[in-house]
Amino acid sequence: MAARDQILAALRRNARPGAPRPVLDGVGARFPDLADRFAEAVAAVGGTLVRVPDLAAADVSLRALPVHREARRVAALVPGVGRPTFDPAEVKDPHELEGLDLVVLPGELAVAENGAIWIEGARLPHHALVVIPEHLAVVVQAADIVPDLHAAYARLDLAGRPRWGLFLAGPSKTADIEQSLVIGAHGARSLTVLLVGSRSPGP
């Protein structure tokens, strides 16, 4: 560990103490209606949002969409939403997930300000399920919308056991050729957000 010790010693020599940790105040987005704002934000990042009263309605809506109607291989991780053709938990090697047409994922919480949805890795048998399919649908409860990322991190407990997770905002995209926005760079070519229920009026 010569390298480690040398680097840390150099940093100790050169660091200038005296910059206290700031209090993260004075920030926080406010929106009159979180669900409306979230819907706008999802559209802005290239997603499609469908509002449904309950999971049964989410299922009906999703199955009516071309991304489901035309899909041959479907993995659905939200019970009762979508018609799965196989169980990805029984797949050992994630490479076998290549060729998936649609994956239905559970969303843990949604961020009104930017349209991002937290996908909790522990609820997925494979990380690849987030990026490998042609199309994605995410089911998220309207009650789980928070105003911004500060509120999101306050709710997520990210320490402890090994895990992964991500904020997903819209479908995969690139603008690397003359800044022309192209949807579907490596990951899903579309993202359908099924927003379930409505928010009870806040305090």
Binding site: A15, P17, V45, N114, V130, V131, H150, A175
Partner: protein
Amino acid sequence: MAHAPAASHPEAAARFAADVPRTHWHDESLWFMRVKRDRAAAQVPEWERLRELAQAIKAHALATLPALLEQFERNATAAGATVHWARDAAEHNRIVHGLLAERGATRLVKSKSMLTEECGLNPYLEARGIEVVDTDLGERIVQFRDEPPSHIVLPAIHLKKEEIGALFHEKLGTAAGASDPKYLTEAARGHLRQKFLAAQAGLTGVNFAVADTGAVVVCTNEGNADMGTSLPPLHLACMGLEKIVPHAEDLGVFLRLLARSATGQPVTTYSTHFLGPRPGSELHIVIVDNGRSALLGRDPYRRALSCIRCGACMNTCPVFRRSGGHSYGVTVPGPIGSVLAPTIDPAAHAALPFASTLCGSCADVCPVRIDLHHQLLAWRGELAAAGHTPAGKRLALRFTAWVFASPARYALAGRLARFALRVLPAGIMARLAGPWGRQRELPAAPAESFRDRYRRTHGRA
């Protein structure tokens, strides 16, 4: 460095700017990014507060960096990751190659990492029989062209779609003459999907390393970091040691700033948090110094370590927009690169702090409020004092200082200049004005100087 500076910035910039329509196109492309950034920032009422917090969090992180790195190492290790330390580029490259070689991996997919670019990792691995595929679309384009990225966020911003079409025709067999970005992106998707499926290891950069959890956060729009790490059994995450943030909640501040500053998006499409390896795979995190610990001790320049690599200073810089990223001859170009490069090798990069108008636009857009133009000015003084500036420039500045130091000499110089403007032909005057006069009309000489006029209207001062 992956590529040695072939020419000093003024020469390389002059070559770039010789193509006038292309220079205008490049200028406008980057200004478009700046406009998008402005629009995104204006939608966040507490934008300035976020910038202040980001600056303060980074200052706190730099002040406590050794402890935070140890805390990060402890937490990452407890979560099952293996942490490696590299003093310099060579050690970093050896560690990465060693990890691949021990597992017999010869096919590596990479998502964007300016650090590995800085370390020259690709040629190092390729010389040892490893196929390295950059999977960010812009990076794949410049990799096919065997050139470095010209911008840290938009690696192929210097290329036109027709050039990329011709390149893909040659490399990927796309239709001759095709240049539709959607068509070309689709071709790259198919090509890279095969590379992802065949890869034995995935390497990513690190946007943020969180000390209090041990997680690394990687942000992409394409999803290439998630593709590259979710299929093969080995994930290598390479980070400069300044990427540490103390707490997970700090990410709320940085993720709200990063994509808005970089591309005007509210957030990147994939902001993925890795805490330990996924079951059945390995996660190795390589923490790299390569001059950073020394920079931490250099007073005017320390804050440059706060950089989150959004590229906003490049998009707004009038010099970058008109000279192109390659003219800087370093991995990180633009205002931030012009501060960082001389810390590694002052003599080689002495021209870079002069590649600025000191307009301060870079500091105004910087999401972590690095005082970039002040640092550029400080570098100029330091480089001149150390004799790293051209003799002609030193002499001219010494002469100017001598003139400006005395009111009598200053007044005489003004009289001479006004006289010369009146009697000498414009062509000769333009030449006397040096490079400044090349594309500019000199002003008409005023009938009298301010001093003369003041004396005339107010009597003696």
